[in-house]
Assembly symmetry: C2
Homo-oligomer: 194 residues x 2
DNA sequence: CGGATCGTTGATCAACTTCAACGGTCGTGG
DNA sequence: CCACGACCGTTGAAGTTGATCAACGATCCG
């Protein structure tokens, strides 16, 4: 599963890694396996780790007083998951993160990642690119959510992350979009007969 | 208006700036004044600059085919404005940015900012903190938009940016929240009599 | 003064939610 | 290995929330 990560670094930094760098990287991470439905993090927890997903699928979400779940983020292979907010604000997590399928993660603490960025330029470049992309995707999601109807937001999702549909049950997709499962079902039906 | 910026850097980096650093910083920016209603950037433009607002108020928004405006971001004193997405993706802007009031900006190109970050550690620390905050605030806005009713989103806004109400007309607040001006008006009326 | 902009209000309409029921599939324990 | 319960998607009916359209008064500015 390190191959996945090394490939990812190469793709994101377009820098070649030396053997020593690869060693440093390997030593910085530890492997974690999660069973389906297992928590990586629960609301109220403090977490110093972020996790690179090499296998499986996870979600980050809250549960409101009516028991409804609201998914703010999904993570699959080659995505990062973690309570970035809690770390930067030094507060307990507002979110839960759990595994939707059996998953494999590479974990690193934020401090170690800072350290690694200094030692390995490719990692620094990678993090920078991730930050840029996440800014852009968040901004677009905000824009979609204030501008579009439920159907258009669903279409946006189809275009942006076509694989989500295969990977996640429909009710979670609905939660991610901020609509009820019933509405999503009807939207899909209605789109099928277009 | 440089005082505003220097104070901002101090607040965000908690590092003291040397006189030479202050000189380098001053040389990197150029002043720009905007009249109310004047564009800083229009959809389709390419922009290499980001702007630090020392005075006034701006908004970043799109206009849909029905002529409705959708505001993704506001900017007032001590905020940054610019087409970050267009710069990182090297694409023309999807957004318009214009001045809501007469405004004063300090402008710098992205390349120069990179350069400045290397020369002045306080700037680097500042940018890092901004990135973190913007991630967190975007995530929260997304969460609010998928979880909350119009009223709750308005309450969120009141708590997060209490000054927005004084600074921006109600129809723009509505646009930012993704609701119609009429709905916001009714929500406010209804909340007043609580 | 006259026009544009802004917030408000009422009436109607469309979008989405909620509640309830049903059928299919899948995983697990007996 | 089968049966049962849990979970998931679908559908219908009714209810709620928010959008739209239109009209009006107030304010601001040139």
């Amino acid at each position: 599963m390190f191959d996945t990560f090394l490939q990812y670094v190469a793709d994101y930094s377009s820098l070649k890694l030396s053997d020593e760098e690869i060693e440093v990287i390997k030593k910085s991470f530890k492997l974690k396996k999660l069973r389906k439905r297992q928590y990586l993090l629960q609301e109220g927890d403090m977490s110093k780790y972020i996790s690179f997903v090499t296998k499986g699928a996870l979600r980050q979400y809250t549960v409101d007083d009516k028991g409804h779940e609201h998914i703010v983020r999904f993570g699959i292979e080659r995505w990062w998951m973690g309570d970035y907010e809690g770390f930067t604000m030094k507060t307990p997590s507002r979110y839960n993160i759990d595994a939707i399928d059996d998953s494999e993660l590479l974990q690193i603490s934020y401090e170690q990642l800072e350290d690694l960025k200094k030692k390995v330029p490719a990692i620094e470049a990678m993090v920078k690119k991730i930050d840029q992309r996440s800014y852009v995707s968040q901004q677009r999601r905000i824009h979609s959510s204030i501008s579009n109807t439920a159907e258009d937001r669903y279409i946006d999702l189809l275009n942006t992350y076509p694989d989500f549909l295969q990977r996640f049950p429909q009710n979670m997709i609905a939660s991610y979009l901020g609509i009820s499962p019933e509405t999503l079902s009807r939207i899909r039906k209605q789109m099928a007969g277009k």
